[in-house]
Symmetry: D4
Subunit: 221 residues, 8 copies
């Protein structure tokens, strides 16, 4: 069965296709990696479990077990963007998603500063970093549980806020649906949301937003 990898997606949309590894066998992933190597293309893999990563035995893969991401190739497939990007996380348990966002951003040509452990139950933590945050062009906010961080943050900043709800929580908060809903009906205007645990999606959107600045009609067609 022929595969149809979308190699042109980076040029067409500004964000190259990444490999969502869940539900794919080691052989299927290996075949895509080989295809990339033949084209000398770099590649980002998300949701790659440690045992699959090991079975791939690929020394040219930069694998991170916390975020379960792997990067093939050392050159970003897109031009670097130097607009400052921040990632703000609510709790220690959100770290895997924070890192997926940060490493995806790196792959997409952006250095993202991380501010972790900024839950609103201790509001002083947020107030401490807000002056710093005001220096960033775009903020990715990562939170599980009740997701109160999204509204509070968006009410304090001029920059756009991309909310990444995480599946951290239990009871009614299990699975991340409450944090997601909180992002969607947050009372501060202009919060943008991606799927639960979708750190890559947030980085991809960040890339598209920050690219708006340097963009002019026709340039990417």
């Amino acid at each position: 069965m022929e595969t149809r990898f979308d190699w042109g997606r980076g040029v067409r949309t500004g964000v190259p296709e990444a490999i969502f590894s869940e539900g794919k066998t080691v052989d299927q992933i290996g075949a895509i990696l080989d295809a990339a190597r033949q084209r000398s293309a770099s590649l980002l893999l998300t949701r790659l479990d440690a045992d699959k990563a090991e079975k791939l035995r690929a020394e040219d893969l930069d694998y991170d077990p916390v975020s379960r991401t792997a990067i093939l190739g050392s050159v970003s497939p897109v031009l670097p963007i130097d607009r400052p990007l921040a990632i703000v996380g609510a709790g220690t348990s959100d770290l895997p998603v924070i890192l997926e966002a940060q490493r995806s951003a790196l792959y997409l040509g952006m250095n993202a500063a991380v501010f972790a452990d900024v839950g609103v139950a201790g509001l002083w933590r947020l107030e401490e970093i807000v002056p710093d945050l005001r220096g960033y062009a775009l903020v990715i906010a990562v939170a599980g549980m009740e997701g109160a961080l999204f509204s509070v943050l968006a009410g304090l900043l001029f920059a756009p806020v991309i909310a990444v709800p995480t599946s951290v929580g239990y009871g009614v908060g299990a699975g991340g649906n409450v944090a997601l809903a909180a992002a969607l009906c947050g009372c501060a205007p202009g919060i943008l949301t991606v799927n639960i645990d979708n750190g890559f999606g947030a980085a991809a959107a960040a890339r598209k937003i920050l690219a708006v600045r340097s963009w002019s009609p026709g340039a990417h067609q």
Copy 2:
């Protein structure tokens, strides 16, 4: 069909039975009012629509159309408690629930101060009143939408916080389920929750909590 009104509930539990008027006919409500008048008992009615209130033609009823509550009799059925109680509301649309809580508290012997319009999208509003709020023994927080107020408030105060989620919202926030879930999985410890729009329930719980102070074993048996 005989009715079995629980006239002894006030003595037994500290909170007399109130009439939830939804789903009851004007005749049924009228009959309970008459029974109360015969006992010279006061009575609280919640969720009483304006047209039912009018049809009751009861001049001894103090009716408030915004909260849809009515009070029969001018004397609280329980002894007054002077511990300071505050009600904090997130938005103007939460007013009906705020007032149900305040009037229920009044009926239950407590004067509650109301701080309205304290949504977290403008955090300065909350910061402005926190010093004042620290002077209260108990705080009822009323919020719809994403309910971020509950976590933020509980992270700042020593007093217990009772969350009343409201049905204010739309899309995923319609019906109040997101605000309820936010209260239940709030990241600040010790938030207590009642049902959506249940201002009376919050006041009843407040009565029980504030009565703990003056309480000694055996006194109420």
Copy 3:
């Protein structure tokens, strides 16, 4: 009861507070309008039913019954932005949300071009306008039902795509939850989502994104 309108939100976050009119009485809305008039502030009202609009008897209100929005004052409260913004709608029934987004954008200093009736069941409609769409810096996509438009559009464009799911649909699609979920788990990277029917939220986010271009650290503090 004192109100605490967040007059500083525009300066602080780039998007002034708007009035969500559902659940507010005519008197409450009237009082906020008066406060705005005293400050010579302009104001946007969303979800304002025609009968409330009529009862307000406000000749200085520009009311649109399809989008149920009203604008007080003829000057945008923020500086105009001339980056091209497009709104793409899937069906005729999505028009109220499309117009809420367009009028909100106008109020926030942006002229948005509308491409309506571009459902994917007739893909030629989308293909016909894609070359045009490639000239826009940002695209707001409005769709109900199964929300397939979001993925297809985002897979074709370099510009960021903000998805606004609408409550248009019936059966399993009633209420907009399917379109919302489609936006959140769309297979094209970088789709950003706001709440169901939240045209204003999309315009607010668009403002924040397009303002990134002209922004430099400290400028808005």
Copy 4:
């Protein structure tokens, strides 16, 4: 306890009873296989885990671990149909369901051509194969995530489209409910749907549809 296998189902409905192996013990499955062998009947087993397949130690079983299907006997229990049938899949992770459909079709006398990896995020992949697809009498579409493929495909083809939503996805898309809902409220007319991951059901329905052509009243009674 007597079993009541429905051996007459193939003659009665055009599709013989297949064995759904989940929740059945190896002994129970073995007993049904023996009964089939005694009748020289062929048999299809779905959702047969590899370890159960191994424990059955049945050399006359053709087992495929990706689709978890097994076929007993080399002759289809129904007459072959030569109307062209296509299976279109959205992503590599959908392969198990695609293969369950293809192998079920084979068992039911139909050769199905598979077009894999045709997600709408890269629309060129679909456009590339549409001319080919127009040569098929019936199309089975297999997709998870947001299921946009169903609407787009059905809007381009004359042939009926049977949608098989898959459980591929995460966050709000986990379990396949979003893809299912997308199929049900797709904006292109005439999409038909089966249960999540039900490749066999799609093949069974395909058999019944393609048999309509050669059918005349009374022939099958």
Copy 5:
């Protein structure tokens, strides 16, 4: 705002675009009707409330208040098909959906025989008509409540069965979700499903299926 009606859909997919009237204003519907009249095209409208129908004041519209469908023009936009099509309904309350299916079928060139009131609680009713039903090439089954009709019917017939779950029911069955789920996980193989109350969708699918018989590659391109 320009509309983009998909006039070519009939030729492209075998089923012309119909007008879903819910959420459209009388003016919007009127404009589409005028466009159709100018092209001498016939048109089907579904979910058209009686008051809208009256306001349209269109004498060339054939309106049926039970099914809330209207047909413009007396000639079917597609060639008639004479393969026998049956519609089987479970209860009297399902009549609006049954008639939507029957009238849609008529518009699409098919005469459908209706067998109403065939609920499985009185199985004799079904057994009485099964011999007749065996004479039909395709069966549309319409049922609400628990939707048991779908499995029972599909287990008895050679012809394909399209299930149309209806919103008839109350308590856990309200809205049609139980009947829909019953269709999707019915134990008889090959049941095909459309959205709740979607009589038109069933007729559209029936058209596509019955057209398979007379179809040969290339004929419709």
Copy 6:
């Protein structure tokens, strides 16, 4: 911590307390068994996993691994009832629940005849046994998937029907909620329902129903 086993429940309600073993440790279960032995009481344990059963090392326990039930003591704690009771099951996968019901019935003094594999997709199987079933005073019906068996059976029998939905199913039918809903909104009158997979509950209810016959006021007080 003192335990409070309800030893009097059998006399008071007709059904002795059984041990739901899920979530209990081997030590906790062992302690209850010892207490029963000291009283020479018999005891029924449900949902007892095989590994727990083995760890209990109790030779006086009659354990069945398919139904995961264990019975301590060889004498039923209640008087036998000889009214005929039947259990009808839809599929082979429902066997664990069928056996939990049958063994619970045995423990409660009733011999239940089992009719397995009577799914409605092959209606002849049901029709074959209906004459037999008409000889039973009470019928327990066990089915997963779409649960059509409940309505069909209840429409054919004079005896009461207790529906036990099972968690057998996948996709929308996973977990048993569809079968449960089918039982609750079945179109045949008088279907009674217990929780998903609750074979013991059905047997307990059967005991109470069949005891009605021999009951006269005061006899059990």
Copy 7:
């Protein structure tokens, strides 16, 4: 379109078919009434709104507006049963469902005693009537909100308990799903459940249960 009323259901199942009037037009209901009059059959109608009842202008209909039931004919279609039946209701708002059950029971040949207003918040009310309730062969329990009555009652009585959850409630309890779930997972053994608000269903089941006593094989065939 021919109707197929199941006139034989009473003889076959012990409970004659009743008319669920929701979703039926006045003409449809009138036609069934006429058919019944021609056969001199009695008939029960449920969920018949007052305005439909009035439009029927049927003097031989005994209509009750609270339960929205109507009875045609003064003779029960089945033989009377004199086993004592009780209906216990939790609150005044449950009255419509209590009366639907009582009047349905009457129509089915049973006199049911009603014990209303027995909510568990005042447990003395239940304790007061338990000695009386012990004199009944079968108890129907009607409750909304959290449905705690079901477990408490079933833990105290020897007779079978049929739970009728009602849609009385608000917030998370709206629609009756919590009361339904409480009945299904009640901790007292042997609770049987019918659909939300289904007073008729409870009466039908009661009829079948009480008929078990006088039943012997063959008598009803």
Copy 8:
């Protein structure tokens, strides 16, 4: 990445920050423990699995495997409170949550008496302890399944009742949502609720409530 532990939370809110161990690695937990040791601070860890506890190899940790809690340090971080606190549990399976509440209370300076195994199916168990319970200032009620305990208990006691729904249950009761909903819409006034299985949250709220008694404005600022 810098962590921001909220060491001041105890002074600010009356309840020190505890460590929710799920989703945290052993290294992350170890680092927080070290930070606490350096400050000579005591610390509570919840949801700490036995294998993580073992890997921490911390002899100064008091670990309890049933409640999965660990306490670092032998001194409560807050002043002891001697108001009597009771924990009432419905069943043996609720023990882990009961113990999480009891040990959290201990850490927070309160001795809690436990009354286990008080399910309402045997109401005598509750009646037996109610006189004792009337001697407590505050009651925490722990129950899964249908959660009827909450309403019954709150209807009998003067003290406030905090409901802790547990995830004990199966079928519709799985996960604890029914018990949670029962607490929220309980018919007895003033029930307060925390998240499912949240024993720590209940203890934290209890601390805040019991501290109200000894509290005077300004004392904790």
